[in-house]
Symmetry: D3
């Protein structure tokens, strides 16, 4: 029995390493990214079995992604290499020291081939948590059906469902997103959203109001991610706030997914809401202290590392 | 009046710098590529005005391509940044020290939007040479029409036409290519092809036979590129052979386009066939002695550099 | 008709990339720099035609500089490669994370050969702005004459003149600089100076006093650059202050020239003084957020980038 | 049921990337190595399940090794992180372009803690092949016992046994090695040795003689690795010779282990001796065409890559 | 006559350059480190002759260390290359932007062979200062005897003795350390300690109390290093406090040793206590503004560099 | 008493690391070079005391050079940092994988200030060998006088004199060089020259003839360096030939100076002519197998490294 199952798209990432506009000879690093993959890696590093379902190309990028997930202990037994379509790719220009611009190569590529048949019923039904995001339903009709199918299985098997709203304006309009995601929110046990994302479903103007509005749709846990202001959660009707964990940041990308990973891992460990939020914030801090989406995520024994000073022994 | 006009697609290139399979943290360099762009740069470096026509995205990659061409003195006054579509991209895995595998992100992207309206009649009619390749007609219907349109203008204005067959099996079948390109060969004054490409139009089994067969279709100059075996040309009925110029090679990519650039630049300088081939081979040697498609191409005063020893002064 | 014409020296820059004293194996990056070249690039990126006049060597560094300016869309039709003299060079030791020490190789080299004959009368008379700095007159007698000649042409043709005082203590004494530059200030429409530079011409002790004193010499716009304190300008008798735009800084070099570029580009766009200063400060912020003198300068559509958060779409 | 099981030590590798003596600021890459780990990775990449047994430290290097093996699909379910002892490490000075000098940090460290209890009887008995090397028995008494135990299990379960002699002069004398390894040779079905290693057991002076002498001790397959001269094998009494596969080499390290991986993977695929040797030589070529011990090893679909030219499609 | 003599262990350092967990392909830099070597380099850069005594291996790392010290002008005439044992090594994982984890390879290696016979009586007796740390006595019995021997010589020759407590929990317990180091404190003229280290000898709870307690054991100068809070010293009964010098920090490692180097160099220059502390704090700032333990240390003429702005001349 | 004394110029070297024309962002390495410095380093690494006399700037480059020489054990007690003039610099464009173009910044800079007063009489008279090159007399009148002075001291003290002709066409004409260097040849005991350089003094057309002609001018040992063809020496009337030592070459620069270092070190060791040439050729091979002028030179115990295979122990 696995701890967490998630499904979604993972893409190759090409990120320039020095700040500045792209120009011939620009140095870059290749890695991979995907909101759900980051959550699976984070949960696995914190000690809970995690499975990732998705479709990648049968190319070098696809092999890199599956190998990368395996390296992190994430089960990819239900992931698939699609023949004939390249793996999606994101080209990140590090425009200034702290501003990144991305171009996406994903439409109609391997990741969009995810479908209900990829969702192994036994795997989902046997998990303790199913995690989905609002990105996957926007990729293709089959991907949307895969998410719906997975949630249905989970609900039937009494597996807890987690949803990160993750609205992407390049993929669909706010209206489309709201229509598709509202039922998902309603079926989720825990939902994560930024204030802008929570506003898809509510006109509340404060984090607390937004959390309440989300919870009113169904979830017993509604977590509002507030970026540099930390986070606020309403859990079983009670409100908790969480500051960010201070750290020297080098790359803001991936903090939100790391936060979710920490929260869900702590939940799998049976931690109380306050501890879930603290672990979430710690994971967010690790993510921004290392380049890349998931590379910085902590292992369980590292969770205390940011607390102390940097000392020699 | 410009020397050479060419039109086609230019793409961003992400190439891993160390040999080996892609993996997270793989170092890469970003640059750009395109068979016609390489020819334009090569001709410009050798001292002849050159213009490139094409469509790129209005993104970081597109800006890099136009800036890169301008840096090389190539006129991009008729190139265009297309709104809303990303610039094409090629991901190159340097699998071993001398074997590279590429994944293409180009279908339906900005480069395929090239069309007849992009072909400035005055620019083409005022040039001394129009250079086209067999890649462009395979990109899209509008791109195919752009090539046809450009050739028509050139023929009408008595501008010499050059064609590099450049068959790409990922874009179309040999049958489709042969059907589309045969009329282009017939209208060209000079045609370049590898043996495999020349076989699209002939069943001859020797380089000399293939050159003769191509010339029989119309061109007064038919040049067969033989890779490590050099080249063979039939010019005005006479056959010339050319060895490769020996050099320490670091990257085989771009040699063929460099060869074409050298040949055409020498032709623009009024050189005799033997000299055209020698300049072509020298440019090919420069291309493989430097990483990247076009980065190594020689300036006129550098053409003699490979002949001598490396000495201090 | 071009927007801005400027003339001066551009040099190769070798900058160590890791903090610390130079030692064998120190990694470095090669680029180029020059106060006027930076202004030309900045104005061009913001959408106004710009021309740069100067002399570089006919060597690799000279070719790099001309290619680099062309890449940025800067017209170098009146720039010249001087035979037999190397292009100037600056060796920058990044001594600590935020302290850089430079050694200059410029005396008697190609850049000092700039002379009145290089100043194309038609080009200057047809521009909307002529920009000069206090560096060029200190390079050589002929360079000084070139600046005087350019200003004379501009004044005669009613082209606005901009002067950045840019005092360099390695090139001449404060007395020499004051004597040569005072008449230039008097002929300028807009003058830029740091407080230390403004003190060449005034004993005023406040930014406001210094701006007033400069304006009293002739210019209708006097702008005092205050580094981390922003800037203060007296424009047509009215005083404006501007804060710096906050940003993660990685390299303080080039901020002053970027500021000038932004100010002049906004002026060419017809912006009011307050908007000129805001654009200037934004350009300064971009410059320090990227390594190199000019590499970070913004394109027009990027001016708003620093305002928002770094978000995914 | 797994295809191949192997056991041994894996160490962190720190290798300087530029040729030359170590000096402050020398750039290096960190990876890992181990003869048996390389064989396991090679077999896994060629499509057969492989398991690696060994002990690493519970430190960053140990985590890197286990993650790296998992990424390659190698089962590490029976590998163990030892508390309190660091993972072994090898510091490689790339002294010239093709000469590497190594310093070893392994004595008494985590890898030497491997013992009989680590050898899962079910895992070994259920495999098709057990692969051991002459390095492991030299690490410690417990490691020697682990090898003996594994071979005993394999023999009892009729699992084929493969032995790579791999004599390491820093660990023991030729006399000690010969005494310990002779019984292992006798129990092996396939044995690999260089000429110098085969001379531990025979006074024959030719590769053919040495192969015959090894086979006379018991193994039905005796393979002599001849470096740049290829290899010679006596299989079921018949002699086969194999040339090296030509390739641009960048790093000679790891070729021997890659050869073994290719041979054994082909054997698992049921290939005839000639095909085993050809696959072995191809894997050796891949290994030297990429930096690192195992990084360059081919996947099954890549085996033909070195045969053709480097072409575009 | 030399200024400062010190003795101890120096090790190779392999430090990953990008934040994140170690993984195959992680980039690293190789250098060396050692608390006493850092002090010797710092004192030498500030203009005082310095000698370092220690044992390294006769391997690439040992040659790097001796060459590196010689490059800095440190006399290594009494240092020794030990045959047959590798030089110690430290593997640093830069886990996040500002947290580093280290694995040590030092037990029983070359550095532990330091013994009384290595301590040249004439060298120590002829120096103005002997500097020792609490690390060396913990390395081995012979190293402990070497320290005791050196202190005895110094005391007899009326050479001032400096001790940096430098407690390392990986090498010995607090009880062992306190027992061995207490007599050393008593014999020292100047002693440096962090608050945690000073607590080995006192139960005082404030920096001032700790300084007083240390001084009560014998030293006329007791300096408490307070990290980001600066330092506090009791010198001849008078208390002085010192803030840190603000700087952009990139690597916290080495700050404490740099502080000691600055303090002792100023003392050798005859500076008053307040100036010693100021120089110490400046050296600490330089150390954290450059990667590596000693690479950033200032030369005398650079001491003022951090005070001013970064300006062009 | 030192083994070898030499005097000359050492310059900073900035060398691009990737093949291709210089362009903004080109990566480079900083080091230093100088024919005489390379010889001094080579002799020191092979175990003989060596001293270098020269003038560098009091800047970062000058400090790097003196530190670099000290690191190699070269005595720089008589070298001097000149105030107010920068250290010379060489900018190397690695144009292709094996062709390098250099721009020099040396005229009138610190190195040209070398003068007779820098030549310590006691140091030269107490050495076993004085080595000079034909570069130094071309730098300035004072440098020429310094060479003459040093040779005069050596002759008077019966110290053997070595001359490497080292003609540099950028510094003077063949006629000037021949006139100045002929007397130096006459006073030398051993002279080194390429065929082109030997032709300054003779019309002989074969290496053997040139060696004989040089010897006829005075030296008992005349060595003709033949690049890829090895070398030929006439020693005491007997002719010896030497092949190159085969090696994977990465950088041809520095081979000639390395050859001289090896020859002279072997002479200092009392080796016979044949052994001197063999050591010389081995040093030349090491030089080209590592990037940089001197970085690759062997230590005594490494001389045999190139003979064997690259094997593991």
């Amino acid at each position: 029995m696995t701890g967490l199952v998630t499904l979604g798209e993972a893409m190759a990432v090409v990120a320039s390493t020095e700040p500045g506009p792209l120009a011939p000879r620009t140095a870059a690093r290749i890695s991979f990214a995907g909101a759900e993959a980051t959550v699976a890696i984070g949960v696995s590093r914190l000690g809970h079995p995690a499975s990732w379902i998705g479709t990648v190309g049968s190319d070098a990028a696809g092999a890199m992604i599956l190998g990368g997930l395996r390296a992190e202990g994430v089960d990819v037994g239900c992931a698939r290499q699609e023949q004939g379509l390249p793996t999606g790719l994101m080209l990140r220009e590090r425009r200034t020291a702290d501003r990144t611009l991305a171009a996406y190569y994903r439409r109609g590529l391997a990741g969009s081939r995810l479908g209900p048949a990829d969702v192994d019923e036994q795997l989902v039904a046997g998990a303790r948590l199913l995690h989905v995001t609002g990105i996957t339903p926007a990729l293709s009709a089959s991907a949307r059906d895969a998410v719906r199918h997975a949630v249905r299985i989970a609900r039937a098997a009494k597996v807890a469902v987690s949803l990160d709203v993750n609205y992407r304006s390049l993929l669909w309009s706010r209206e489309e997103a709201a229509e598709e995601l509202r039922p998902l929110v309603a079926e989720a046990d825990v939902v994560f959203a930024g204030t802008d994302e929570a506003s898809l479903f509510s006109t509340a103007s404060t984090p607390e109001g937004l959390a309440g509005a989300l919870a009113a749709l169904g979830p017993s846990q509604a977590v509002i991610k507030l970026g540099a202001q930390g986070a606020l959660a309403q859990v079983d009707g009670e409100v908790h706030v969480q500051d960010v964990v201070p750290v020297t940041a080098v790359d803001p990308i991936g903090a939100g997914d790391a936060f979710v990973a920490g929260y869900l891992a702590a939940q799998l460990s049976g931690a109380a809401p306050r501890e879930r939020l603290r672990t979430a914030a710690t994971c967010g801090a690790f993510a921004v202290a290392v380049h890349g989406d998931w590379e910085g995520l902590p292992r369980r024994e590292e969770l205390t590392l940011l607390a102390g000073d940097d000392v020699r022994r």
